[in-house]
């Protein structure tokens, strides 16, 4: 058995791969600790993996950490040292927190899981991303990998050619501090949203912006692609992320774009500062799409590949994937369901597996979208009193519960789901979801604003079968797999009724989910379609700012903390007592 681990810099997680190349289990630390974006050493995840799979430390052959810790540390320090005394605070912070950085992962293993530290190996950060994406690809040979994130352990973007899982050659890199990911995060920060959390909001906000506006054009000019040197170029004087611990953009950016937004003032379409912020977001999104196009074109040029793995935090920018799919040389783009740092644990675990196997015996099995083991504890026993005091059963039998849930959805109600295993990635795909009729304006509004308390400019994703999606949206076969994990948006067909759906964004796009056969959402849709409902609005089951619900207790808690009344669970369909 092999464990892969991420942590310290971004979301921490742990994954388990067995000797047959099968991803057995995967947990994000935030799911267990309930602290969104938890980046501490993933002790709860590792413990859960060991406990759920009846493993002891001696059963683990190797553990891989997803990056090379000292490399990550030194690159930041070296860059900051070039800008002293301005960067002195960052340097002081780095040195003072040296023992809390990923450099201490060996000691943390020794402290929490004695014995595992001696089995610890290290993988390159972007290699971990690549291997995660490779696991989700049908083909494991002759494919190109593009990794773009904020910062890995030495570069911020890279292109590799995968000959086979044992030969992955890096051909191009974008060195720190120039970073497409950190640029987008800086704009996120400038717009008053939290870094690593608010990027989705910037993406949603961009649809309200005008590419021809002055602000958008100014942002668009902050970075560029140099065709002679094949490099991303950036005027770093607009950014402080490489110099400061508290601020990612410089005062020069404020001089250029005006004052940053106060994070406590709500952004509401039509309000005073809304359009300026939307235009800035539009500029950032345009620049993102432009540079991604350049990087993919360069990747094709140097690898001659037409099939691409795409991972790293930037690949979560679902609004740019449709443009990439339209590049003439692209046959296929694979984005893993968890393309950010949390998903790297999967790649790190496969790294152990590959390093421990001879090539002839290598067999990396494509993981499902729901790998975490079902909770083996008796949910019914533990939640007995919570349910009897606060909820009632509407239906206990699974088939009837689904039928009843379908009836409620057809009546315009919102249903929460806590079914079987939770999703690998950050997007809820039906097992930990809030769902309602995707064409019912009031129901979607209720889900989005009353229950989720989301910003009014953020759309809700529609989920449907492939045959239904074809009727309404311009689908691209190159990114078909991306639709299964909500990793790409698509445009509504021209003059199509879908542009009026409440799940359609202001720019006539939707981040659709094509529901996999044999999934719970598929089962629910099969009950709903005879009732005339073919599209579900699907959002994650959580209270705004919290991680997605992990177990039944979390789901019950969401019900009690919000206006959600119905919960479809493995125990049956529950209704909250009023």
């Amino acid at each position: 058995m092999f464990i892969g681990v991420t942590g310290y810099n971004h979301e921490s997680s742990a994954a388990l791969v067995d000797r047959n190349g099968v991803l057995v289990d995967f947990y994000r630390e935030e799911s267990l600790s309930r602290i969104k974006g938890d980046k501490s050493f993933p002790k709860m995840s590792i413990r859960k993996i060991l406990c759920t799979n009846n493993l002891k430390v001696k059963d683990i052959e190797r553990v891989a950490f997803y990056e090379r810790p000292l490399s990550a540390f030194l690159h930041i320090v070296k860059e900051a040292s070039m800008h002293m005394p301005k960067s002195l605070d960052l340097l002081t912070h780095q040195f003072r927190n040296f023992n809390r950085s990923s450099v201490s992962c060996y000691l943390d293993f020794a402290k929490f899981f004695k014995g595992l530290e001696s089995k610890l190996i290290y993988s390159d950060h972007h290699l971990s991303h690549t291997l995660t994406a490779l696991a989700y690809s049908d083909s494991k040979e002759d494919i190109s990998s593009v990794v773009i994130d904020g910062f890995g352990d030495r570069s911020t973007a890279s292109i590799s050619q995968i000959v086979d899982p044992t030969e992955i050659n890096e051909l191009w890199e974008c060195p720190y501090p120039v970073s497409l990911g950190l640029f987008y995060s800086s704009i996120t920060d400038y717009l008053g949203f939290a870094i690593n959390e608010g990027e989705y909001k910037v993406m949603g906000l961009a649809s309200f912006g005008d590419s021809n506006s002055k602000s958008a054009k100014l942002v668009r000019g902050l970075m560029d692609w140099d065709s002679n040197s094949n490099k991303i170029i950036s005027d770093m004087s607009y950014f402080d992320y490489h110099l400061s611990i508290s601020k990612s953009y410089s005062s020069k950016l404020e001089e250029l774009l005006g004052p940053a937004r106060n994070p406590f003032v709500q952004l509401i379409p039509g309000n005073n500062d809304f359009q300026r912020c939307a235009d800035i977001a539009r500029g950032a999104q345009d620049l993102m799409i432009y540079l991604l196009g350049k990087i993919f074109t360069h990747a094709h040029k140097i690898t001659h590949s037409r099939r691409f793995l795409f991972s790293g935090g930037v690949s979560m920018n679902s609004a740019s994937i449709d443009s990439l799919a339209q590049l003439p040389f692209v046959d296929k783009i694979i984005i893993p369901p968890s393309p950010g740092d949390a998903g790297c644990a999967i790649g790190a675990a496969f790294y152990c597996y590959i390093k421990s196997s001879s090539y002839h015996h290598l067999k990396i099995e494509k993981p499902s979208l729901f790998p975490s083991q079902k909770e083996k504890r008796n949910d019914e026993f533990l939640t007995e009193q919570i349910i009897s005091n606060e909820f009632s059963y509407l239906e206990r039998d699974e088939d009837y519960a689904f039928l009843k849930a379908a009836e409620l959805i057809s009546e315009g109600k919102v249903i929460g789901t806590v079914l079987s295993r939770s999703e690998t990635g950050p997007r809820a795909l039906g097992n930990r979801s809030l769902i309602c009729d995707g064409k019912n304006m009031n129901a979607v509004k209720n889900l989005n604003t009353v229950i989720k308390n989301r910003s009014s400019f953020r759309p809700t994703a529609p989920a449907m079968r492939y045959e239904i999606a074809e009727k309404y949206y311009k689908l691209r076969p190159e990114i078909y797999d991306c639709y299964k994990s909500m990793s790409a948006t698509c445009k509504c067909l021209k003059d199509n009724v879908s542009s009026e759906f409440p799940t359609t964004h202001v720019d006539s796009t939707a981040r659709i989910q094509i529901v996999e056969k044999n999934s719970y959402l598929y089962k629910l849709l099969s009950k709903l379609e005879p009732m005339g409902i073919e599209i579900l609005a699907n959002s994650s089951l959580n209270v705004s700012g919290d991680p997605t619900a992990f177990d039944l207790i979390d789901g019950l808690m969401v019900c009690l903390r919000t206006d959600l009344r119905y919960l479809l669970t493995d125990l049956g369909l529950l209704i909250r007592k009023t």
């Binding site: 935030e30 051909l171 106060n262 590959i354 390093k355 026993f381 533990l382």
Partner: protein, 231 residues
């Protein structure tokens, strides 16, 4: 401005503390083997979540009138629950404490929380909407304190109320100790910061000379890089 800053700090820190309490309660709820206890901790967690939400709302209200620079400093990010020490890096309390000690901890700290809310109540005014909400929170804390006491005495009948008093005194002293430690730490930090900065400057001067070309991977097979190297 100074007033806004101090108010923001109070609501910011209190919201952190309440949210951390919610997570601690949820963790116990999931750890316990008794459905009855799970229900109790679940409802307690729900209350704490609600308290945290109230304090975040009060923070948000004041944050709107703060300068952008100040407001940015009070933007909540969940991992700060750990970095600020509201949740221990070692894990949740239930992972490091015996259940008995945990209940005594709740018994004491709910009461201490109530008394600290008195100060916030004075700040916002008793008759205001916020004042009424804080009074409600204080009533909740008192109820939690009573429940913890009841639970303790039922499950540990060999212990007497006066023994709880010892727990309370001990925890009160611990709390005071933590505050003194924290104040000393801050004082020491102020005192040593120039030294740290000089050291960072020297280390930075050396770092400038680092040649990181060694780390370049262009043209290399990434699978062949040493598995043991942290560089």
């Amino acid at each position: 401005m100074k007033k806004i800053n101090s108010e923001l700090t109070i609501f910011f820190e209190t919201a952190h503390a309440e949210l951390a309490s919610a997570l601690e309660m949820l963790a116990v709820c999931k750890e316990t083997d008794s459905p009855k206890q799970a229900f109790g901790y679940f409802m307690h967690a729900k209350d704490e979540y609600s308290h945290a939400k109230s304090f975040f709302n009060m923070l948000s209200l004041r944050g709107k009138s703060a300068s952008i620079e100040t407001a940015r400093d009070f933007r909540f990010t969940p991992p700060s629950l750990i970095t600020k020490g509201y949740i221990s890096q070692k894990g949740f309390l239930i992972e490091t404490m015996q259940l008995k000690d945990f209940i005594a901890f709740v018994y004491t700290n709910e009461l201490l929380a109530k008394s600290s809310f008195e100060k916030i109540l004075t700040l916002v005014g008793r008759s205001t909407e916020e004042g009424k909400r804080i009074s409600g929170i204080m009533a909740d804390e008192l109820r939690h304190h009573g429940m913890a006491k009841k639970h303790f005495l039922i499950h540990y009948p060999a212990l007497q109320p006066w023994q709880l008093m010892i727990y309370r005194t001990k925890e009160t002293l611990n709390n005071k100790g933590r505050k003194i430690y924290d104040a000393n730490l801050k004082f020491l930090d102020r005192l040593l910061t120039p030294l740290y900065r000089i050291m960072a400057f020297l280390a930075g001067t050396i770092s400038k000379k680092l040649n990181l070309n060694e780390f370049k991977r262009k043209g290399k097979n990434l699978m062949n890089i040493s598995t043991k190297s942290i560089l």
